[in-house]
C-alpha cells in the first residue's frame, strides 16, 4: 500500500506543478486601486489622489514617470473584467442607444466600422468625453476602472478580445429574438421586425455569431 500512496502523492505533486500555468484570464480584481475608483475625468493632470491608505505613502503617489497604461490589455484577457463590462454596459444603459451591440439610436458596436477609432484608449476617450452627434460624456460619472471594463467589453462585441475570456450567455435564441421580434426583448425599440424563412434566419445567425 505504501507504494500506492507514493503514486497518489506523485499525482498530486504533478497537479501542483501545473501551477505556473496560472492564467490571468481568471483573476478577479475585487478591490481596485483607489485612484481607479475615482470617477474618470479626462482632464486629470496630476498623479496625486486622496485615499484611505494614508499610512502607506506609496499609495499616495502614482509616479508621473510611469504613466497609466491606456492599453486595456489586461482587461481584454480577463474573464471577470469582460463580464463586469457586460454587466455595466446594461447597468449604465449603454444598450439604450447601442442595443446589445447591434445599434439603435447609436451606431452598431459589433461590426468592424469605427467612427472615432476602435482602439481601447479611443473607446475610453469616447465614453469619458463623449462625441458629437449624441454620445454623451460620462466623464465624472463612471469610475475609471469601470470605463475600462466597459471598453474591453465593447471591443469583445466585434471579436477583438480572446474568445476564451469573452462573456457568455449571448445565446443564439437571444440574437434570433432581436431579428424576428425585437419588441419582446426591448419594448419600444426602433429595430424593425423581420420575417425570415427559418433557413435564412439560421444563415443570418450563423453570420452574426461568426462576427463575435
Amino acid at each position: 500500500m505504501a507504494k500506492g500512496d507514493v503514486d497518489i502523492a506523485a499525482a498530486l505533486v504533478a497537479a501542483a506543478l501545473a501551477g505556473p500555468l496560472a492564467c490571468e484570464r481568471e483573476d478577479c480584481e475585487l478591490r481596485v486601486d483607489p485612484s481607479d475608483a475615482e470617477p474618470s475625468l479626462a482632464t486629470r493632470t496630476s498623479g496625486l489622489y486622496p485615499g484611505p491608505h494614508a499610512e502607506d505613502p506609496s499609495h499616495l503617489v502614482r509616479t508621473a514617470l510611469a504613466p497609466r497604461p491606456l492599453v486595456n490589455q489586461k482587461n481584454e484577457r480577463n474573464a471577470y473584467a469582460l463580464s463586469e463590462g457586460k454587466r455595466l454596459y446594461s447597468a449604465y444603459n449603454c444598450r439604450g442607444c447601442h442595443a446589445n451591440g447591434g445599434g439603435g439610436m447609436g451606431p452598431a458596436l459589433m461590426d468592424d466600422g469605427w467612427i472615432y477609432g476602435g482602439k481601447a484608449e479611443q473607446i475610453v476617450e469616447t465614453i469619458v468625453k463623449g462625441r458629437p452627434g449624441g454620445m454623451p460624456a460620462f466623464g465624472g460619472r463612471i469610475p475609471e476602472f469601470q470605463v475600462r471594463q466597459i471598453a474591453a467589453f465593447v471591443r469583445s462585441l466585434s471579436g477583438n478580445v480572446a474568445g476564451d475570456a469573452a462573456p457568455s450567455r449571448d445565446t443564439r435564441g437571444h440574437l434570433g429574438g432581436w431579428v424576428i421580434d425585437p419588441q419582446s426583448i426591448k419594448p419600444g425599440t426602433r429595430m424593425p421586425q423581420h420575417n425570415f424563412a427559418p433557413e435564412d434566419l439560421h444563415a443570418l445567425l450563423d453570420y452574426l455569431q461568426s462576427l463575435k
Binding site: M1, G4, L12, L21, E26, C28, A79, P167, T171
Partner: protein
C-alpha cells in the same frame, strides 16, 4: 445460542450436503492448510508491479486508497483553512487578497465535504464491511475500482484548479446567480461543477456496492438482526447516498448547461423564466442528508469502539438500529432550514423547523444508549480510540444544541451567514464525524497494518485536537453573535473582532499540530509499532477473526455467525464455509433477511477496465462540461470502448483473473 432451532444451521447443513460440496471439502482437508492458503493467495492477490496495483480490485487495497487519498485532501484543505485563519488573525490583514480568499474558502469547503468526509466514510465501509460480514470481497469489485479513479480525478481537478488560479470562488454550495454565467465568468465554476459530478458518480457507485455486499454477502447466520451496528450504519448511509446524490449531480449538470456558451440553457436564469431557488432546493436536498451521510457512519465507529472498550455489546441494539433508520428518513425532511431567508411559506418554515428539531430525538436515543453501555460496563478501558469517542460526546452535544437553535426560524434569520453558523457546522462535523473517525483510524490501525499505533502519542494528539478544536471554534459563536459575517476576507479594527479572531487562529494552529501528531504517530508506527495480533482490543465483530493485516482472501474458511458479536459468541465448533472454489474468486451469496446460504457467485478478478473507463468519463466531463459540449461526444467513444471491454463475456472464466503463480519475493 440455541443452535438446534436455528434455521440457519439447518441451511448450512443443507449446503454442505450438496453434490459437489463434500468432494470439495474432502479435497480441502486432504491438502494441508498451507497449500490452501497458497492456492487462495494465488487466486485473490493482485498482480505485482505498477500495472498490478492499477488493476487491483481487492476491497482492502481500494478501501485503504480511498482512506489515504481522502486524508491527503483533508490535509490540503486544512492548510487552506490555516491560511484563512492567518488572514483573519488581525484586522485589516493583507496576507491574501479577496479573490484568493474566495478561492480558499470555497476550495476548503468543497474539498472537506465532497473529497474528504463522504469518501473517507465510504472507504472505511469498503475496507471493513466485507470483513465484518465474513465475505472475501465486495459484490462488484470493478465498480469499486472505477469509483476510486473518478474520485481521484475529481480531487486532482479541484486542487489542480486552485493551483492554476481556476479555483472556484463562489462558496461551496455554489448559489446561483452568483455561480451563473453573469457573475462567475471564466472556468472556475465550470471546474467546480465537473468536480461535483465526478465525485458523486464515485459516491453512488460505492453506495450500490456496499448495499449489495451487505444485503447479499453476509456470513450464514448473520440475519439482519445480528448485523453489527457499523454495518447497519453503512447500509443506511448507502441508501441515503443513492437518494441524495442524484439531486446535486442533476444540479451541477443543469448549472453546466446554463454556463456553457454553446448550450446556454436558462434553468437558473430568472430573466428568462428560470428559477434561482430551484438550485438551492436541488443542492440542499443533497446537502443536508449529506451531513447525516457523514454522521451516521461515525455513529457506527462509535458503537464499535464503545463495545470493544466496555467489553460488552452496546446497550439497546434495537433502538440504536431504529434511530439510525429514523435519522436516515428524517434527514431528507430538513433541507429547507438552510433556506429560511428565502421566501418560504410560513407553513413550510414550521414544517422544516419541526423536522429539524425532531431529528434530535433519534440522535439523543443514540447518545443515551452509548451512555448506558458505559454505565453497564464492568470496567471501561480508556484507550486512545475511546478518548476520541468521549471527545465526540462533549463536542457533538454542543453542536447539537446550536443546531436546535438554528432550527428556529427567528434565531436562524438573525445569525444567518454569520460565524455562528460556521461554528455550529464545525462542531457537528468535526465533533460528530472527524473525532469518531480519527478514533476509528486508531482503532482499526492494527487491522489495516498489523501494528499498534503509539498509545502515548495517541493521547497527545487527542488533547491537541480537542483543545485546538474548541479554541478555534468556540469563539466563533461569539463572533457570529457580534455580527461577523462568514466569508469576509478582512474586517476593520473598530469592529472589535480582533481578539476573538486571534484566539481562533491560535486554536487552529493547535488543531493543525494535533493533525500533524496524529499523522506522524501513524507513519512512525507503520514501521516501528509493536506487532498486533488478530484481535488486539479483544473486540467481538468478525473483522477481528481475520489476520492483521487480513490476507488477500480475508478468511481461509469464511465463518458463520451465531450472534451479534460472533468472535465473543460463536461456539468453538461453529461451522465454517468450505464449499467455495479455490480456483476462482467465488463468494457465497446468502438470503436477504436471514442470511441463509443461497448460491455461489464468482466475482471479477483484477482488471484495468475500471481505469480505462474512468479516464474517458473524466475527459467527457472536463472537456465537455468546461469547454465545448462536443468534448462529451468524442469522449463517449472511449466510454463505449471501455464498457465493451468491461462487459466482454468471460466465457465461464469469470473470477479467474487472479494474481497468477506466486513468485518468491
Amino acid at each position: 445460542m440455541n443452535t438446534e432451532s436455528d434455521p440457519v444451521t439447518t441451511a448450512i447443513e443443507e449446503i454442505s450436503t450438496r453434490s459437489d460440496a463434500p468432494e470439495r471439502s474432502a479435497r480441502a482437508s486432504a491438502t494441508s492448510d498451507d497449500s490452501l492458503h497458497e492456492q487462495l493467495e494465488r487466486v485473490w492477490r493482485r498482480r505485482p508491479g505498477v500495472l498490478g496495483r492499477l488493476a487491483s480490485t481487492n476491497h482492502k487495497d481500494v478501501g485503504l486508497r480511498f482512506i489515504v487519498t481522502a486524508f491527503v485532501f483533508f490535509a490540503l484543505a486544512g492548510v487552506l483553512a490555516l491560511v484563512m485563519r492567518l488572514q483573519l488573525a488581525k484586522p485589516g490583514n493583507t496576507l491574501v487578497n479577496p479573490d484568493l480568499y474566495n478561492q480558499l474558502f470555497t476550495t476548503h469547503g468543497s474539498a472537506m465535504m465532497f473529497l474528504f468526509a463522504v469518501p473517507v466514510m465510504e472507504g472505511m465501509g469498503l475496507y471493513l464491511v466485507p470483513l465484518m460480514v465474513g465475505a472475501r470481497n465486495v459484490a462488484f469489485p470493478r465498480l469499486m475500482a472505477y469509483a476510486y479513479w473518478t474520485f481521484l480525478a475529481s480531487g486532482i481537478l479541484l486542487f489542480g484548479g486552485l493551483a492554476m488560479n481556476i479555483g472556484p470562488d463562489m462558496g461551496w454550495f455554489g448559489y446561483v446567480p452568483l455561480s451563473g454565467p453573469e457573475y462567475s465568468p471564466g472556468k472556475r465554476v465550470d471546474l467546480w461543477s465537473q468536480m461535483i459530478t465526478l465525485v458523486e458518480i464515485a459516491s453512488m457507485a460505492l453506495a450500490v456496492d456496499i448495499i449489495v455486499t451487505i444485503l447479499k454477502l453476509r456470513a450464514p447466520g448473520m440475519s439482519l438482526g445480528r448485523m453489527p451496528l457499523f454495518v447497519w450504519t453503512q447500509l443506511v448511509t448507502g441508501f441515503m447516498v443513492i437518494f441524495a446524490m442524484p439531486a446535486v449531480a442533476l444540479g451541477s449538470t443543469l448549472l453546466t448547461l446554463d454556463r456553457l456558451t454553446n448550450v446556454g440553457t436558462h434553468f437558473f436564469n430568472v430573466a428568462e423564466g428560470g428559477d434561482a431557488i430551484l438550485w438551492q432546493h436541488l443542492f440542499w436536498f443533497f446537502g443536508h442528508p449529506d451531513v447525516y451521510i457523514i454522521f451516521i457512519p461515525a455513529t457506527g465507529f462509535i458503537s464499535s469502539i464503545v463495545a470493544a472498550f466496555c467489553r460488552r455489546p452496546v446497550f439497546g441494539y434495537t433502538p440504536l438500529v431504529l434511530s439510525i433508520i429514523a435519522i436516515g428518513f428524517i434527514g431528507f425532511g430538513v433541507w429547507v432550514h438552510h433556506m429560511f431567508v428565502t421566501p418560504i411559506p410560513d407553513l413550510g418554515q414550521g414544517m422544516f423547523t419541526a423536522a429539524s428539531m425532531m431529528i434530535v430525538i433519534p440522535s439523543g436515543v443514540q447518545i443515551f444508549c452509548w451512555t448506558a453501555t458505559f454505565w453497564l460496563a464492568r470496567r471501561v478501558h480508556v484507550r486512545t480510540p475511546l478518548l476520541f469517542v468521549l471527545g465526540f460526546f462533549a463536542t457533538f452535544v454542543i453542536g447539537g444544541l446550536t443546531g436546535v437553535m438554528l432550527a428556529s426560524v427567528s434565531i436562524d434569520t438573525q445569525v444567518h451567514d454569520t460565524f455562528f453558523v460556521v461554528a455550529h457546522l464545525h462542531y457537528v462535523l468535526i465533533g460528530g464525524a472527524i473525532f469518531p473517525l480519527i478514533g476509528a483510524i486508531y482503532f482499526w490501525f492494527p487491522k489495516f497494518t498489523g501494528r499498534m499505533a503509539s498509545e502515548g502519542w495517541g493521547r497527545v494528539s487527542f488533547w491537541l485536537l480537542f483543545a485546538g478544536f474548541h479554541m478555534t471554534f468556540y469563539p466563533q459563536h461569539h463572533l457570529g453573535f457580534h455580527g461577523m459575517p462568514r466569508r469576509i476576507y478582512t474586517y476593520g479594527a473598530e469592529t472589535g473582532w480582533g481578539y476573538l479572531n486571534l484566539l481562533s487562529t491560535v486554536g487552529a494552529f493547535t488543531l493543525g499540530l494535533g493533525v500533524l501528531t496524529f499523522a506522524t504517530n501513524l507513519l512512525v508506527s507503520l514501521k516501528r509499532g509493536p506487532r498486533a495480533g488478530p484481535n488486539p482490543w479483544g473486540a467481538g465483530t468478525l473483522e477481528w477473526a481475520a489476520a492483521s493485516p487480513p490476507a488477500s482472501y480475508n478468511f481461509a474458511y469464511p465463518p458463520t455467525c451465531h450472534g451479534r458479536e460472533p468472535v465473543w459468541e460463536n461456539p468453538p465448533d461453529a461451522p465454517v464455509i468450505t464449499g467455495l472454489s479455490t480456483d476462482k474468486r467465488e463468494l457465497l451469496c446468502t438470503t436477504l433477511m436471514d442470511a441463509a446460504p443461497d448460491h455461489r457467485y464468482a466475482v471479477a478478478g483484477n482488471s484495468l477496465w475500471p481505469l480505462a473507463l474512468a479516464i474517458p468519463t473524466a475527459t467527457a466531463l472536463i472537456t465537455g462540461g468546461m469547454f465545448h459540449p462536443a468534448g462529451a461526444v468524442y469522449s463517449a467513444v472511449g466510454v463505449a470502448v471501455a464498457l465493451c471491454g468491461w462487459f466482454w463475456a468471460s466465457g465461464g472464466r469469470k473470477g479467474q483473473e487472479g494474481g497468477g503463480p506466486l513468485t518468491k519475493d
